[in-house]
């Protein structure tokens, strides 16, 4: 898959729907997530896009899983957004977040982003 192309744009809605239904059948207690780098972020791309994660986990644990996939300095932070715009707080339960924000295709779309850096060239 093209690294710049996002999952949602790479397949039609029907394809995504059927894929999600398939995977949910096999893993009823796990949540299908698409996790991608936010377009604004300068962090590295992680090696996976699709995740199946236990629904009882917290957002913070998802955050930790992603952190471990990249060489991120301990001081730097990672934040997760749903649908590219709503910030998630670490103690939210994945199941609740899914119920609230899942896409019509059945996946939930998360993106990760870091703090902005500041500088200004004239």
């Amino acid at each position: 898959m093209d690294s710049n192309k996002r999952y949602k744009d790479s397949l039609s809605e029907d394809q995504r729907k059927s894929e999600c239904e398939n995977i949910r059948k096999n893993y009823p207690d796990k949540i299908p997530l698409i996790i991608e780098k936010h377009p604004k972020s300068k962090l590295e791309q992680i090696d996976r896009t699709k995740f199946l994660i236990l629904e009882k986990l917290r957002v913070y644990q998802v955050n930790t899983i992603i952190r471990r996939k990249m060489s991120l300095n301990k001081v730097d932070a990672l934040y997760l957004f749903v649908n590219d715009n709503i910030l998630l707080r670490g103690d939210q339960c994945l199941k609740d977040v899914y119920e609230k924000y899942k896409d019509s295709d059945g996946f939930i779309y998360l993106s990760y982003c870091e703090y902005s850096s500041f500088g200004k060239n004239v």
Partner: protein, 520 residues
């Protein structure tokens, strides 16, 4: 003699650099024209500066107005500087991959976050010195001792100017691989200044002050505050811990005294009316954090809480809360900015943030020229400017100064109160102790990231972990079952790897679709 030697090493600014500086200063002047010369605020406006309510206890509007401007003009202003000794010495440069990197003798165009960090930190030092009566500020000149810590030439001796841009650049390179000319995030500059202060050299009178940096992406745990501020508990011989629940209940009968048994009779000062007590009883009982028997002050603390509350600009519901946090009396403002331009937000007038702008190039300061009053005056800003809060960048750091454990208690009650009131709009995780979902997380879960030693440990660990992960990244299918009954994600790489291998051997992948997924 020595001076002339140093002079020889310095290069001249290039033509392009000079033009760059002219452009920067032109923009600075233009931006301040747009400010209406009429009064900056109306009579009925709410004005806060560095945690102080400027409307309170003042008879007249004119007096308020004068006080706001006076306060503003007395805040230490640190800007871009030019012609300072080149950043990074020969040894640092020898280690660089890019040998061609030009020598930076100015921070125009990239150092704004460094400067904002410096000025906010200078205000933190000032508050500590003033609150502890180690410094009496009657006139600006009294602030010399603080500003000296931030001069742009630290070659006099190793302890001189402990927070100079030269020292900051070195840590930026060693800890973040960040070169001069590259941009800083708020958390990095807070961390660097904290490290310089905590572990290298603190200016005179601030040895009993420590810096703690927290990120809102991780749980902020008050236990860490106690550990950092208190002496090692003399009774238990360990780092200070939060006492048991009984010990922390705030009793309603205020008359009882502490003497007999502090566990049962802890005095509550703030509750004066019966109605308040009733309200308290309806909700979960409020708990104290600080225990007068087990906790004894060792260090005052500067607290940074670095937040992200939206993508480009803040989400409105979060911004409201951030303003409340910024108004708190022990606040020192925000280290933030508009997108790409760092600014020090010192207060607000209603929905407009009052700021100090570092985007103005001035001649560098060293020990010698700093003696001139004209050079000294370059550390104060005359241009009072405001910026709409809704347009600020969503990354910023809250900053507080907590003098003692009483102030820590107030801070705790204030934050926990906001947490109750704002509930789902409370954009950070604040807890007494580490939440159970962080256990087994190794060093990563600790939010106290101003400890150098901890940091090296964590870095090594994460490198190890990365290597291990690289090794099994080729497997298409990963099932990690290392989560215990309570939902704790247990970080035990060896075992989990074994699990993965075992499972892969025994379980046949039936559905091809699964191969793309990481299963956790």
């Amino acid at each position: 003699m020595e001076d002339s030697k140093l002079e020889e090493q310095k290069r001249e600014q290039t033509f392009m650099e000079k033009m760059h500086d002219l452009g920067t200063n032109f923009l600075f002047n233009v931006s301040s024209w747009s400010f209406k010369s009429s009064s900056p605020f109306k009579k009925e406006d709410t004005v806060y500066m560095q945690g102080r309510n400027m409307n309170e206890n003042k008879e007249t509007y004119e007096k308020n107005y004068k006080e706001v401007l006076d306060t503003f003009h007395n805040i230490i202003w640190i800007t871009y500087r030019k012609n300072f000794p080149a950043l990074l010495n020969m040894i640092d440069k020898a280690n660089l991959k890019n040998q061609k990197m030009s020598e930076y003798i100015s921070d125009t165009g990239w150092g704004c976050m460094v400067r904002v960090g410096q000025m906010a930190f200078a205000e933190g030092l000032r508050r500590h010195l003033v609150e502890n009566k180690k410094l009496v500020v009657k006139k600006k000149e009294d602030l010399r001792v603080i500003i000296e810590g931030f001069l742009d030439d630290d070659q006099k001796c190793i302890d001189f100017a402990p927070y100079s841009i030269q020292k900051i650049s070195k840590i930026a390179l060693s800890d973040f691989n960040l070169l001069p000319g590259e941009w800083y995030t708020p958390i990095r500059i807070c961390y660097i200044l904290g490290l310089l202060h905590n572990e290298r050299k603190a200016i005179q009178g601030t040895e009993d002050l420590k810096v703690a940096v927290f990120s809102s992406s991780r749980p902020i745990v008050f236990q860490d505050f106690l550990e950092r501020m208190c002496k090692v508990d003399p009774l238990r011989g360990k780092h200070a811990k939060i006492c048991s629940n009984e010990c922390r209940i705030i009793k309603n009968d205020q008359k009882s005294k502490l003497e007999q048994d502090h566990h049962k009779n802890i005095k509550l000062e703030k509750q004066t009316s019966n109605s308040e007590i009733l309200v308290v009883q309806e909700e979960a009982p409020k708990m104290r954090l600080v225990c007068p028997i087990h906790h004894e002050l060792q260090y005052s603390m500067i607290v940074y809480i670095v937040c992200l509350i939206g993508l480009d600009t803040p989400q409105p519901e979060y911004l409201e809360l951030a303003k409340k946090m910024m108004d708190f009396k022990y606040s020192l403002g925000l280290i933030g900015g508009k997108p790409k331009k760092a600014l020090y937000f010192v207060g607000r007038i209603e929905d407009e943030f009052i700021y100090l702008d570092p985007h103005y190039v001035q001649e560098f300061s060293n020990e010698k020229n700093f003696q001139n009053s004209s050079q000294f005056e370059t550390y104060f800003c005359k241009k009072f400017q405001t910026y709409p809060s809704k347009n600020i960048d969503s990354s910023f750091s809250l900053m507080y100064y907590l003098k003692d454990l009483e102030q820590l208690e107030e801070f705790y009650q204030f934050m926990m109160g906001l947490k109750r009131d704002y509930n789902e709009h409370f954009f950070m995780m604040m807890e007494d102790t580490q939440p159970s979902f962080c256990f087994g997380d190794g060093q990563e879960s600790s939010n106290l990231i101003s400890d150098k030693n901890l940091n090296i440990l964590a870095d090594n660990q994460s490198k190890k972990r990365q290597k291990e992960q690289m090794n099994h990244a080729h497997q298409n299918f990963e099932e990690v079952d290392d989560i215990d009954e309570n939902g704790n994600y247990i970080n035990n790489n060896k075992n989990s790897q074994k699990n993965v291998k075992d499972k892969n051997n025994t379980k046949k992948v039936e559905d091809d679709d699964d191969e793309d997924y990481e299963v956790i």
